[in-house]
Point group: C2
Chain length 337, copies 2
């Protein structure tokens, strides 16, 4: 195993220290509880948004903490849910009297632990909590760590749009409603060129031949739909988009997100963005917003995922609203630029 | 070879189409000349900044086109200099009467071609051009494609700071002077965990054993100083920083840039940022600015580089100035955040 780490045991603590050093004013990190917080607290009376999950998907979730997005992110061990105590600490740190929304990817451990944290917040701290479970992956029903569909790339979109709704001063019910709507309108599918190596295991989590790719892979290397021979970017775009389009509800323009799995060069992601845009144009789907980059990853896996979100005017306006986090950042005057 | 491409022959054309689609308002791409331009031209009377080089180092250079940084970037074939005609087209597209600064990484082909473009701009178009050659890599004197030191991570810092100086309305001489000063105050060194595979070759450009790393590697996979057994993040930080510190001029605080080589997960870059910060603290060097991410890459090579820039008040203020490019983005109000 070749990785830039000190020891498998210290990966999460070390990376959080690095985040704190790299973002000394915009982030504040509670190292004891492994919670990433905004450097300056948000205003009184605003709904707070908390997410989190296993580490290894960076920049998700800590990289999305900032004005217009998350208030806190809980970091579990690599590919392992954080525990309810972490979530309770995050909840207490960010609540400003308007309640807290949890954004939870649909993996059994995360769902169970965030559920317990919501009960603790209610019973011990008298904080109102609502939860939204993301489950946008069309690849498989049920999986290694999941009952039902997995939460993947759509989670980034839920965090951005719910964050914008909270920043506008909407109520907890309203922010939860829009988060649910984004999840309901988002569909994703991923593929791998290479397997992922978890530091504690030291070996690839599955085997993939020199001429093989896996279609429908999960963000922990969970099995996908099928293995296939290497294909062109154009063919891969079709293999991901056709199942997504078959499940995408509604009509009208979409947001296209092309995401790298952690070890995918940006030049390849731009090529995938071109091919995905062309496939969508041929299918009669208008793309009105784009996002390309490594946004929700799987350690050192090479590959990509595509997410589509069906937009309406409200979701578009919330998407365009300013965001100031380490990993997603734009200003009001960028939109017209 | 497993890559998200259609064909080795179309990599650059396809990626530029993807960039255009992904950034429809902030960028404009001259596909005939393979030049990335700002979506909205800059003001009359400002110095324009042009960079460019072989593709495969994304987001360098096209991802740094935008307000506060570059006006244009010329994209060559993978690891191959663009030609003078591209640079001339870029120069004519961006000149607004105040002259043009070329920022050129020190590789023989780039230096020769930008030199010819400067002559063409003067002789045929009557545009004043100044050039700054970056050569911040301390690993080796002379290399596969270079006489003298290679231009690597420091180039990103030169582009950012010269861009801010131009945005302030400084003259061509003044912008060139500050760019020269950044280059003179920046030192870098890189290392590889894995080799790089150029699409047209289809095979890794060099061999590296399962337990081997290469210290001092270039951004095209050019040989470094030595091969060594796998080491910890802490040890690698020392192996890169000690040669950098030995050559870093001046006194006072530094900017620390931790860069991924293209296939390096963000979690590992944050771990390297922590270790580098700690090594610098132990060496008595204050880090006053940080930047962590994949900023100047080498296709699918895994590994990292570290760049230090000795800061003074002027360089710090120019660094903090707003920047609005696809890959580097911050606003005036982020600094205090």
């Amino acid at each position: 195993m070749k990785k830039l780490i000190n020891s498998p045991d210290t990966v999460v603590a070390d990376f959080l220290e690095g985040m704190a050093l790299a973002h000394p004013t915009s982030l504040r990190i509670d190292h004891e509880n492994r919670v990433v917080l905004r450097g300056t607290p948000k205003d009184e009376g605003k709904v707070a948004i908390v997410s989190g999950g296993g580490s290894g998907h960076e920049p998700l979730h800590g990289g999305y903490v900032g004005r217009g997005m998350l208030d806190a992110a809980c970091a579990g061990e690599v590919f392992t849910s954080p525990v309810p105590d972490q979530m309770q600490a995050a909840t207490k740190a960010v609540d400003r009297g308007a309640g807290v929304l949890y954004i939870v990817k649909n993996y059994t451990g995360d769902v169970m632990n965030f559920d317990m944290a919501a009960e603790l917040a209610d019973a011990e701290d008298d904080i109102a909590v609502r939860q939204v479970i993301t489950n946008d992956d069309v690849a498989v029903e049920d999986s290694t760590f999941t009952a039902g569909r997995r939460g993947v790339g759509g989670t980034v979109l839920v965090e951005k749009i719910a964050g914008a709704a909270a920043e506008e001063g909407r109520s907890l019910e309203e922010v939860a409603e829009v988060a649910e709507r984004v999840n309901a309108c988002a569909r994703s599918m991923g593929m791998a060129l290479t397997p992922v190596t978890v530091p504690a295991n030291g070996k690839p989590s599955f085997e993939l031949g020199d001429d093989e790719i896996e279609i429908g892979i999960g963000i922990h290397g969970e099995p996908g739909r099928r293995r296939e021979p290497v294909a062109s970017a154009r063919e891969i775009a079709e293999k991901l988009l056709d199942p997504i389009l078959a499940e995408l509800p509604g009509e009208g323009p979409v947001l296209l997100m092309v995401n790298g799995m952690g070890a995918t060069p940006l030049i390849e992601l731009y090529i995938m963005a071109k091919e995905a845009s062309q496939v969508l144009a041929e299918r009669g789907v208008e793309v009105s917003r784009h996002m390309v980059g490594e946004l929700i990853t799987s350690l050192d896996m090479a590959g990509c995922s595509i997410t589509l979100l069906r937009l309406d005017d409200e979701l578009t306006a919330l998407w365009d609203a300013p965001v100031h986090s380490p990993a997603l950042h734009w200003s009001a005057d960028d939109i017209q630029e």
